[in-house]
Symmetry: C2
Subunit: 168 residues, 2 copies
DNA sequence: ACAAACTTTCATTTTTTTTTGAAAGTTTAA
DNA sequence: TTAAACTTTCAAAAAAAAATGAAAGTTTGT
């Protein structure tokens, strides 16, 4: 396998993986492309390499910047904008965790708290509902706190976690 | 808020959360419904409560059983089948981790290994590609191992993890 | 062996998500 | 201030994913 083929395979695979985790394919592909580029890439290049339209490129780059994992770069003497991806994987994981927590987990927690707080009657069915949603709330809250803690370590949290977990 | 409203809100929210994580909405809703039911539920009931077709119900229940998080139950003297969800949240997390690892992470690792093993020329661009994909491979491998380890603890891994992580 | 009571399958339809591309907007240099 | 060089927006089109429902399949009781 030579470089071009490998790069393409990587971009495709990363895109597919993204969509299995609720991230749109193009967004994941753009990210993949930027991850393995040693130089900032222009929108024109992204469009060409991924064969996508200007609008699509623009919107997905914007989304990646909103996630804080892609940055604009300016090159001296160049009018157009270039983009780079966050390449430090620890940093990347931290940012993704933070965003998903903020956008998805926190709102879900709010609902879980609400629904687990209803006045349960004698009814077995209702009692079970309250019990189960309460457990779920506690569980999700704990999991979310783990994410928060992870972001505090910042550097190499995964390696540290591995060490801790591995020693039984 | 009374029970029925709360239950509905929970099912809707769980469904929405599912789709943000790459799980189809109905599948997540069925799971939600079964999670908070104290009794096994028939397909008929699922169809009615979620207002979905028989085919849809059948296929998504099947998918949930393939994930190992929903079980068939037989009631004495009843012809039709009933379903229950895994209600132990630790067990649920373990099963989901295992499946996602098997279905998504392992295949991605294979590709990462492949593409990071190309013969890199002198070319800076190619060198960077190999370097970056190698780092990614190591990172994903470590993360996947964490998932594996988690499944070994089985009981209350999250609580243990919290303790470990919390004490700085 | 039959038929009633169910469940599964899958071609077709519907819904949702993503992409396109042209018009509108912005920035910069002269 | 103008216009060239870009980027963003968003209504419409296309593509992808999910849902339907009727026919086929299966199981069970008699």
């Amino acid at each position: 396998m030579e470089y071009k083929e490998a790069k393409n395979k990587f971009v495709q695979t990363w895109g597919a993986l993204g969509s299995q985790w609720g991230i749109n394919k193009t967004m994941a592909q753009i990210h993949a492309l930027l991850m393995v580029s040693n130089e900032p890439v222009s929108m024109e290049d992204i469009m060409e390499q991924l064969q996508i339209s200007r609008g699509n490129a623009s919107m997905n780059i914007r989304a990646l910047m909103d996630w804080g994992i892609v940055y604009k770069e300016f090159k001296a003497g160049e009018r157009r904008e270039f983009f780079t991806a966050e390449k430090d994987l620890d940093e990347l994981a931290v940012k993704i965790s933070k965003e998903r927590s903020k956008r998805e987990i926190k709102p879900a927690l709010k609902v879980l708290k609400e629904v687990s707080s209803i006045e349960a009657s004698q009814n077995e069915e209702e009692k079970h509902f309250v019990e189960q949603t309460t457990k779920l709330y506690d569980f999700v809250l704990k999991a979310d706190n783990v994410l928060d803690k992870i972001t505090e370590y910042k550097d190499n949290w995964l390696a540290r976690l591995v060490v801790k977990i591995m020693k039984k």
